[in-house]
Amino acid sequence: MATDTDTARIEGFGEVSRVRGIVFEYLSLGASVLGIFALAVLLIYVTIDAFDLAGTSPVWLLTYFVTLVVPFLAFCLYSARDREVTRRAVTVSGGGLVAVAAVFTAIETFVGQIPRLNWQLAYLFVVVAPLTGYLVYVGARGRPGAVGFGLVGRLIGGTAIGLAFSVLFLVFDERLWFLAYTIGIVPAALVYGYGRVRDVSVASAAAIPIAVLGVLVAVLLRPVVDVYPTTVFIYLWTLAIPIAAAGALLVNGRGNRTAALVAGGVPLALAVVIGLFGRAAGLGVGGPNALLVISVAGVPTAVYLHRVFDVGEGVTGLGVPVLLVGGALVGAFVVETFGIPTPNPWVSETFLTEAPSRNARDAGLYPAIVGSVIIIAMVAVFSFVLGVATSVFLEEYTADSGVIGALTRLLQINIANLAAVPSVVYGLLGLGLFANLLGFGFGTAVTVSLTLSLLILPITIISAQEAIRSVPDDLRRGSDAMGATRWQTTKNVVLPEAFPGILTGTILALGRAIGETAPLIMVGAATTVFSAPSSLFSKFSAMPMQIYAWANFPQEEFRYGVVAAGVITLLIILIGMNGTAILLRNRAERGT
């Protein structure tokens, strides 16, 4: 290098070596690509197994490709309205077809048979799936696409949330909820609303004490009172009506009373009719859960529709659900009429709604799904509340110096160390503390979710602390100087600003909790239960446990088909949950 300086001086600036940086860049790139590739191959095989795609006839694939995939992609292109994108999409799908077929045939002739994969499937996974993802991304930036995907999102998301609610009511007592809602929440909401409208701040402030008092009274009354309305009526009164009212208020806020009545009323009416008479009319759906799901999904959808029509842009996008459902129906019709052999997927209605069985084809994941959903909900609440409370205490309320400061630092080091403790040890702790000492029972929902909450608590605390610490001190001082108490500063300035960061940490930690099996085994959770839990203290299983049990079955059908179906279900629920949480977080970020 030293000899270069002379020439450099003569010939200009010379050159600075970047070899190390370039080597590092390509090494990291290679490593990431390799990792993603390995994961993708695994997921492709799991998907193939779960949906029994290996034995699928190419004609079946082609049918749905033409009726479902092509129109959908065309819509995305229409929404994107970009020549360049269209050209790229056509080139990739056409060129990809030739390339995949050629490479595939080459491998099969020269290297050997690739198990359970044919070139059509390879094309589906290697070209169509990524292309669809790309086009959805691009299409969502066009108006019709944004509208369409927003609608589909509300329909699917609302349904999922509605289903999750109905699952929670399997173990939480809906009658207690009915009392608490009627005695506590309704009066509190009324008082609060009155305070807001009449500008009486005393009334608004009284709302929370009233709610707390009401809920306490409800808990006391529950064993005494023994006349209750039916479940359908409870859901209607405590959930469907308030949701519809909230939707109507939202629409009314944008100015139109009639539209508000329609947006709140139509979904409500639909929910009531199907909830009460669906079964009797032979619809196949009905009952309290149908009422719940329809109102939870329907009201946001109606509010959304109103906004779309109000803005008047991208209304064509509202056809997306029609396109999807219609495509699937036409595909099914064609398959039916021409007698095209259909695959027999392991992820099926039976699998999602039935109990485990000795017989692979009858085996279901339902009790484990319910168990997991309940555990996730409880862990989310416990760890979020405890984590935020602890981190606020550590960051905002403790002194930095003196005895308290030293204690805080000690606590801090301990929390950091706890994050590194293996999960089996937490299992042991849960067994000793919750199952034995406190008597919550072996493998019950309470024991399991408290144990898992403890397990992820250090991670939640540390990430929440990090988020709270990143709130600029300027803001705190600004609030303090206004004469805010520590509590007011924390509540009004620090927490809203730290909220997205706190959520990110909690989401990551929850993802870990759902997948855990070791602590579950330690606290005595069952690998297999045959009926959905009916109370917080009944025997529980969770999806990972059940999948693990199936993986040890001697029959090949279990080890491949059923396990794959379980993995896919677990992944979909996990990704759906994380996705919702991330959407929520992004919204909170934009809101600030």
Binding site: D400, D474, G478, S479, D480, A481, G483
Partner: protein, 281 residues
């Protein structure tokens, strides 16, 4: 500093060159009640002394400027008045600060209640990441204000000369405003709960001259209703907007405190003259 060091022959003239006459407003400093008074105020950060035996009376409904070289304790002095120094663990305050007929360091004074009567504007604009309306209404909200919030928000924004620029976007984020607008938003936030004293720590140092002059005009108007205490490094600014000026020098000593015109035209102390003319500091 745009002013040139003046020679002794010019010492009877104003020491600095400004377009505006010093003390141009018609307010006079005499015959005013005292809003804030300090008695033998000493402040220490650990072992280091930041304020050395300062006693001064700050008049009501006047603008009082605090000037002095960097690190001489101006900000520290300001923070003593609303007890923001309590937040700094190593900070120790001795002596008295009288406000509202009481020593604010008495055991029975609640610093939070005290701060509700004293507004503060910081050097760097620090609006909350909330809407403009919520920013201004913040003090009202935390104090449980019972009246018409929207009306108060409008009044305060008008008082901070920001209303016309933001009246159509009260719901957009306070962070979307320019630096100068943000600083006026912070002033609106400080005056909304109707405090008695407003403390400003170099409120224009992060702003361009146009935005700064808007805020200067504003301060002039604020003095009609409030007692304003302002720290500044800008001599012309101090000369233009203040009625009284206090000069601190290194070590946290109050060297001279008098009518602004007097300080800038004929200071008693040679050190003050040197500082004002830029010979030192």
């Amino acid at each position: 500093m745009s002013n040139t060091p003046s020679s002794d022959t010019r010492s009877s003239d104003s020491l600095i060159t400004t377009d505006v006459e010093t003390g141009s407003n018609d307010r006079t400093a005499e015959s005013r009640a005292t809003a804030v008074a300090t008695r033998d105020l000493n402040v220490y950060y650990g072992d280091e002394q930041a304020i050395d035996d300062v006693s001064m009376d700050i008049p009501e409904n006047r603008v009082t400027a605090l000037i002095g070289p960097s690190g001489c304790g101006k900000s520290t002095f300001l923070r003593c008045i609303n007890r923001m120094n309590d937040m700094i663990e190593v900070c120790r305050v001795e002596g008295e600060v009288e406000f509202g007929g009481k020593n604010v360091y008495d055991a029975d004074v609640d610093p939070v209640a005290l701060r509700r009567r004293i507004g503060m504007v910081f050097q760097k604009p620090n609006p909350f990441p909330k809407s403009i309306r919520d920013n201004v209404a913040y003090g009202l909200k935390i104090q449980g204000f019972d009246g018409d919030v929207d009306e108060r928000v409008e009044e305060s924004l008008k008082g901070a000369a920001l209303w016309d620029e933001v009246k159509d976007q009260l719901d957009s984020s306070g962070l979307d405003l320019s630096g100068g607008q943000q600083q006026r938003l912070c002033i609106a936030r400080a005056i909304a709960p109707d405090p008695e004293v407003i403390l400003m720590d170099e409120p224009t140092s992060a702003l361009d001259p146009v935005a700064a002059s808007k805020i200067e005009d504003l301060i002039d108007d604020l003095a009609e209703e409030y007692t304003v205490i302002i720290v500044t490094h800008n001599m012309q600014q101090a000369a233009r907007i203040s009625d009284r000026t206090a000069v601190f020098l290194t070590g946290g000593r109050l060297v001279e405190y008098d009518d602004t015109a007097k300080i800038f035209e004929d200071p008693e102390e040679q050190r003050v003259e040197d500082y004002i003319t830029g010979k030192f500091g």
